[in-house]
Symmetry: C2
Subunit: 341 residues, 2 copies
């Protein structure tokens, strides 16, 4: 039995004594203890070695005191498992040297056996659950099919992902084939994470906000919907489609228990769009964690007041920045933990 | 007297025989005729030589048939005129090697005499007006103070401009001093453009969408408001704050005649937020111009139908991409020109 199940109760819409809090990318570069391991091991070595992934996952629980752990991994392990080469050059971001451009390229990817290709993730989850010893829930995660397609087609990060979009607009049949393959893989992958012990899962659609509402439905949400449906009898799901405010209502209708939002939408507006039957997660501006501690405390209180009690998980509106001092991150977490509605 | 004043009449809310159309970055890299000049002359040479700026400005009028010309220049000529070094490396984007970080750095910038520092722009405008010979209106432009601060502080392009945001959050007094200096310079600069012959002006707030609604008001809109007020007795103003959908109502209240929107907000929603007294401009997804011509024609019609007749200037939701074929750009423009509500 979990000693701290605030997040799970909040996702079920139950009243809680206070608002729970975690931070996207909380196991990351702002932590000196993480940097030590980053110096010594390559990115995929850290992901693929359960002991390292476990240590990194648990660091922010001990150091910052968040209410959930999130598996240390990367969304691009899925394209990798599907047969694409993925390089993660730490200072440059991800590079996929042979991206998908044609029907012929599609024959290079497959729907893999996840136990064979991603078993190391499930091993890491089992170890993390053991080491966490029921202190807080463990969040599993995957990238949304649209966001993974962005990388698999563009081959690298981009502000606009226009090659990925052009791929969808000029070869829609091929795009939908690829999206369905990613979806099938992701469902098996997340089911494997749940079987290994993940208490809830988050779907990251980092590039969902690049699409119009109509294209978001066509190329992203219809696949996310399949994933949410496949998980609905197991654990709660949070969808975080950054910038896709226009589709909060449609995302709530998928049956997901939580929706992530960024700081560009105000809490009452998000609540109005998403309705009262879903938990909202967010939405502190990560750059605000660079402010003086007093400002962080004040703005965190204002955020909590804006969301009101219940149906809210405090978080950032995007991943924590590497240059945030640890005591600033802790000030944010403590401000949430000390607040009473 | 202008032979084609569709855009000006639309900005005044008058009925027109059809929807006018132009494209952001229409004088740019997708045009082979532009690439010839780009091979021969450096970026600032093209901006600072009135004959070159004139030729480039007029190219899309002749080649694509848009309803307005927009001055060929760059928003970063203002920081340059204020005393900062700006390098525009064509494949890498802008670099400001000595960005503003401290009070001491602020002493390196000044509110310049615009005739002295930016007179070449006014010369270009006079020449363009002469060469256009009243065929279509000429759009002048400037960057919004917030967007210019982003570059002046961060020193280069960024996805998050977190250093610029941290500057504002940790040194707000300094940030507001800098924003006011940029605003004063921009007002003089745009008044100079109008005096030289610009028929309307657009304010580009490319990074407005990175801010929360409250921060957008504090660090961007209050300065844009000053600029709009300073121009209100001369020519119409269009504000394009990409992604700042949350502030459409506040932007409409500035008295600007036009508001640019991107493809992530649907026309009826934008109209609802902005109200009926302002003209909307946009909002075709630039990546959609990579679609087959038939798809471009169909989606352009759908966009025009969604906006309905009047109070709409057809445009992209962001600058045209360099890899768009010229006949695709022309298909978009022709689809607008052939459409009747």
């Amino acid at each position: 039995m979990l000693k701290n199940d605030l997040i799970l109760r909040t996702l079920r819409g139950e009243p809680t004594e206070r608002t729970p809090v975690w931070m996207m990318r909380q196991a990351g570069r702002y932590l000196p203890q993480y940097m030590v391991l980053r110096e010594k091991y390559g990115f995929f070595e850290r992901c693929q070695t359960p002991e390292l992934a476990c240590e990194i996952t648990i660091q922010p629980i001990d150091i910052v005191g968040v209410d959930a752990a999130i598996l240390f991994s990367d969304i691009l392990v899925v394209p990798q498992a599907m047969g694409l080469e993925v390089q993660l050059i730490e200072t440059k971001g991800p590079v996929l040297p042979d991206p998908i451009k044609t029907t012929n390229d599609l024959s290079r990817v497959r729907i893999p056996d996840v136990d064979e290709t991603l078993g190391y993730v499930f091993d890491a989850i089992r170890l993390i659950k053991q080491e966490l010893n029921e202190r807080v829930p463990l969040i599993g995660f995957a990238g949304a099919p649209w966001t993974l397609l962005c990388y698999m087609v563009q081959g690298k990060g981009s502000k606009t992902f226009d090659e990925a979009k052009a791929f969808c607009y000029t070869q829609p049949v091929l795009a939908h084939q690829l999206l369905q393959m990613i979806t099938d893989t992701t469902i098996a992958y997340l089911q494997g994470q749940v079987k290994a012990g993940a208490d809830l899962v988050q779907i990251f659609d980092s590039w969902g906000g690049l699409l119009s509402k109509k294209d978001f439905e066509d190329f992203s949400l219809r696949y996310i919907r399949q994933i949410v449906a496949a998980l609905k009898d197991t654990v709660p799901t949070i969808i975080f489609a950054k910038g896709a405010w226009h589709s909060l209502e449609a995302m709530a209708a998928t049956g997901a228990q939580g929706l992530g939002i960024d700081w560009c939408i105000e809490a009452p507006v998000a609540r109005q769009f998403a309705g009262g039957q879903v938990t909202l997660q967010g939405n502190f501006d990560p750059a605000k964690l660079l402010s003086p501690v007093k400002v962080i405390e004040q703005e965190t209180k204002e955020m909590l007041a804006a969301f009101g009690p219940g149906r809210h998980i405090a978080n950032l509106g995007h991943g924590i920045l590497p240059n945030v001092p640890v005591d600033h991150a802790r000030a944010f977490v403590d401000a949430v933990k000390n607040y009473r509605h």
